[in-house]
Symmetry: C2
Subunit: 596 residues, 2 copies
């Protein structure tokens, strides 16, 4: 392709609205164009990168035995109502764009395809003999993000590879899950991306096991907790660790103490020389259930620990079967709106009486009481007395009437010891989620009544897995990991072109002739070449070539008359003056070997 014919416009200045370097470079080098908030056009150079990533993804996913398909982007609400996801995806913070058609029927624009694919499997796979089946597609997906930002990282229209697998038993699902894990690692490595697999929360997709693939990058939106030896990594929402030991409370008797204006852990500690680990703090949340119910939660946690709200939601789902669509701390205004008296905030104890909820307008009038393991493991502790300006010391769970549901709802912190190996401590790094694999189990097949006939003639729900890669996000993540102050440095496997030939002076006939010859020769050798034939100064061409990030640059300049060119490697910035034929020989052997 000739640069003069490819509509190239590069920007020297950093676009004002682009916060991270990969987003800036994509805009500056003319790879993408913003159309409206969170929505971008992929210009021709970008599309070539995406198509190369797609090819790598197809090769590796086909190798798992998966079949490529293409599902509709418009999805009927009925299917999402069957799985109970229509409301949580469209109301409130729900991220699914949705509309009504001319007949008034509700349609969503697909952020994911579990409902559609499970329905198709139900109608197509009748017998265990047809299993396992893995289907995948590469397609634009949609999320009405609350804060679209960082270019393709968090956009409202983005390209995904999503795969779904169907199995007759959990073991077989596990096998495919492992195959996908391996395929994903190959894909990211072939794209030149460094990733860390991390234990992840399954979120709104649901299901049992799940693992994210994080491209490590300072600009990443996700915080990853990782052991020093990298054996353990989990995203912050899912991470577990061993909490620090509490400082034992000196012996003493249970007694109420006067603690005026000591409503925070800090005030309480500094006035009484307590250690935060000796205190149980109590926090009240409201859980909005899927069916609309509003459940007050009374949560106990050791004073030195922080709450992990995602773990609370998962606890409610996994241990109590409650599907929560929103979780928020209680406020004084809300208590008033419920027509209730004020709570003794700052002095709450784990035994706060349910009578505080009596007569609430829309809240349930019994607390659901849960406590973190750090709290329930304390034999003696200090806690609120449920009376303004008073706490209790040397309290025990027995005296409070017993231990509430004890669960892990604390945040793992940097410096904590690791559960898998107590010689390791946790540290944190930032990452960009580029892939996610899930063992869904039977959540979708049960709710959509998707069954097959098993070997003994009975009807059983499919075991399912699902596996996603953010294709457009991956492309940008590669830039976040591969750039310098001059621009992008594409790995050859996904570079839009492999070589750019810059004719230094297009008025010089020798240079132009050699440039054109080289261009045609390299194309014949199956190499993807750009010819910068623009009537621009050499400096402009070199700056653009650096910005575009083409792996190799051939400069046809003054040495052209001696049949020599300069070969410049973008990544190392090494320049070598070479005889043309030697350069061709080198490139035509090196490039194909580095492609895959």
């Amino acid at each position: 392709m000739r640069v003069s014919r490819m509509m190239l416009v590069t920007l020297r200045d950093v676009p004002a609205d682009a916060e991270i370097v990969s987003h800036q470079l994509l805009l500056r080098a003319g790879y993408i164009k913003r159309v409206t908030s969170g929505i971008y056009a992929y210009l021709p150079l970008m599309l070539r990168v995406l198509q190369k990533i797609n090819s790598i993804v197809r090769e590796e996913i086909n190798a798992t035995g998966a079949l490529e398909t293409l599902l509709p982007q418009l999805q009927p609400a009925e299917l999402w109502e069957k799985t109970g996801r229509w409301n949580s995806y469209t109301a409130g913070e729900g991220i699914m764009f949705h509309l009504k058609d001319r007949q008034g029927r509700k349609l969503g624009i697909g952020p994911t395809h579990e409902e559609i694919i499970t329905t198709i499997a139900k109608e197509t796979i009748h017998s265990y003999k047809q299993l396992p089946v893995i289907l995948y597609q590469i397609q634009s997906k949609f999320r009405d993000e609350i804060r679209p930002r960082f270019g393709l990282m968090r956009s409202r229209e983005f390209i995904m590879k999503d795969a779904y697998s169907f199995h007759s038993n959990e073991d077989d699902l596990g096998k495919t899950y492992t195959c996908m894990d391996i395929a994903y690692k190959k894909i990211f490595s072939r794209c030149g991306l460094k990733t860390v697999p991390v234990d992840a929360d399954s979120g709104a997709i649901g299901g049992a096991a799940s693992q994210e693939f994080m491209a490590t990058a300072e600009a990443g939106e996700d915080l990853i907790m990782i052991s020093s030896n990298r054996d353990y990594a989990a995203n912050q929402e899912k991470a577990i660790s061993i909490p620090k030991r509490p400082k034992p409370l000196p012996t003493g008797n249970t007694s109420i103490i006067n603690t005026p204006n000591q409503s925070t852990i800090d005030e309480l500690c500094s006035s009484n020389k307590f250690d935060p680990s000796q205190i149980i703090k109590v926090i009240i949340f409201i859980a909005k259930e899927e069916n609309g119910g509003l459940q007050p939660l009374l949560i106990s946690l050791r004073g030195d620990q922080k709450l992990n709200e995602v773990k609370i939601v998962n606890t409610l789902h996994n241990k109590l079967g409650i599907n929560v669509i929103d979780l928020y701390p209680i406020t004084i205004d809300e208590i008033r709106n419920q027509g209730l008296c004020e709570f003794p905030f700052g002095y709450l104890g784990p035994d706060l009486d349910d009578k505080y909820l009596l007569g609430a307008k829309t809240w349930k009038n019994k607390f659901l009481r849960i406590a973190d393991h750090t709290a329930t493991k304390l034999k003696l502790f200090i806690c609120g007395s449920n009376k303004e300006n008073h706490h209790v010391t040397h309290m025990s769970w027995d005296k409070l009437g017993g231990i509430p549901l004890s669960v892990d709802i604390r945040k793992a912190e940097v410096g904590d010891l690791c559960v898998h190996d107590q010689t390791q401590t946790l540290s944190s790094i930032r990452g960009i989620e580029v892939g996610h694999i899930f063992q869904l189990g039977r959540k979708y097949s049960d709710s959509l009544d998707a069954k097959y006939t098993n070997e003994s003639g009975g009807q059983e729900s499919f075991w399912m897995g699902c596996y996603g890669i953010g294709i457009s996000r991956l492309a940008q993540a590669v830039i976040e990991q591969n750039h310098d102050e001059n621009g992008i440095i594409w790995p050859i496997s996904i570079a839009p072109y492999e070589i750019i030939i810059s004719i230094a002076n297009t008025k010089d006939k020798t240079q132009t002739k050699l440039g054109e010859e080289l261009y045609n020769k390299l194309i014949k050798l199956g190499i993807e070449v750009l010819l910068d034939d623009r009537k621009e100064r050499a400096g402009v061409k070199f700056k653009d070539a650096d910005l575009l990030g083409i792996p190799w640059r051939i400069v046809v300049g003054r040495e052209a008359e001696f049949n020599k060119i300069e070969l410049f490697e973008r990544s190392s910035r090494n320049t070598t003056l070479m005889i043309v034929d030697d350069a061709i020989k080198k490139l035509s052997s090196e490039i194909p070997s580095k492609r895959s």
Copy 2:
């Protein structure tokens, strides 16, 4: 690919809701699955067909110098408001799905991309030196069809190739338009599709010249008017012809005649021995203008002719600059609702007084008077007298106050002589629109203020063209032209697989061994092979192979022990018993040559 692993389910019965054979076969052979009205999933076999069509399209469109891109499917309303298309595409009969995002901003889901691409060109192409530029994409598009039907023929989500070209002058646009014409013919021919290029109406896209490519098929929704020698073809909306000569009215004086209960042309003719061609009939329409105005039209037409409403809309746009978004015949109820007295229907004359509109509530109160050339060319004629039960004979335009705007608004009819060659007559055939190319001119660049700097430093709007191919519709049109009572007959260029090997008896080890060997050998030769390894009866496998439409079938049966197979050609249904190596030799030379 092994048939046992590809989730194949075929249907013996014709699905109830599929009216045309290509739709029935796609469903029966498991190529597509209906998700909801007008929305289909492309299952793995279908996706392979679509990908092959895409490859052919890419090759031919790239050869025109076009650059592939990918534009967002979600489009901000602001851009469509600038071109004045938001309302006509979203209100009333408008076919654009549309929604509001969480910020309340309006978005459309793209049925076409003129607004987006013109905006990008405006921001990217600054100088005449960058021109011409052709951009294209292959993508799912959306239309909220009033009556989705015929499977992929008129679906609500479908795959399109759409290209857009930008030029510094009309000549250059013409050149690209011609290149596209040639590329389109190559594409359709390579896909094994017989098409007729026809003059077309530009419709809501707008612009000057436009040509449709029609796949000829009985089941086609479009009526094509075509000359006997096929030199001229146009869709019915656009077709022109020479009307039959009128029967001259015998001489006589202008006089009012009593015509009680003769309010139709038929009654008037039979009671008075008139010929319909001697009469001028008058019809009143209401044109709803883009800005909301309601303009009554008084239309005169020779009594033996039929009105072409599309030509009326185009006349108003092209000759009077009025953009009409709806056109409908006036009704008695509406006249009453406007608070007007009844019109003398059945006896209307071209000189009906504007006073009939005086005091109308929302209608403009002057008729816009237009007449078809067949009417204005009559020297003497019979017409309504605007008085119940009375007509006038031997009337002339002079006596009516002059000739109104004379235009072509009649339907061309089968049997009419052709304009381009009066030795030819028009006949009609049915077709499926698979492609459409337009010379848009400056309609979009003007309204979006998309300009470049010309050679003399001035600012000029781009000249634009746009070029579409319905990829998913094309795939189905190929089946409509290529099938028999047993199933689909794919042309090898777009067949999902090239060969299917059917092992007649999978319990026979010799057969299985030979089948597997052949399968591996053919794959190594780069041929796309299905191996029907299912434990089904041979008859079932043959029926399925016929239904799927794979071009070649190799039956590994009883002759396997003599190293012989049966080679069956799907299109000719010829079977040849062959030595295995001869079959491999034949197929590996014939298939690659027929692919392109």
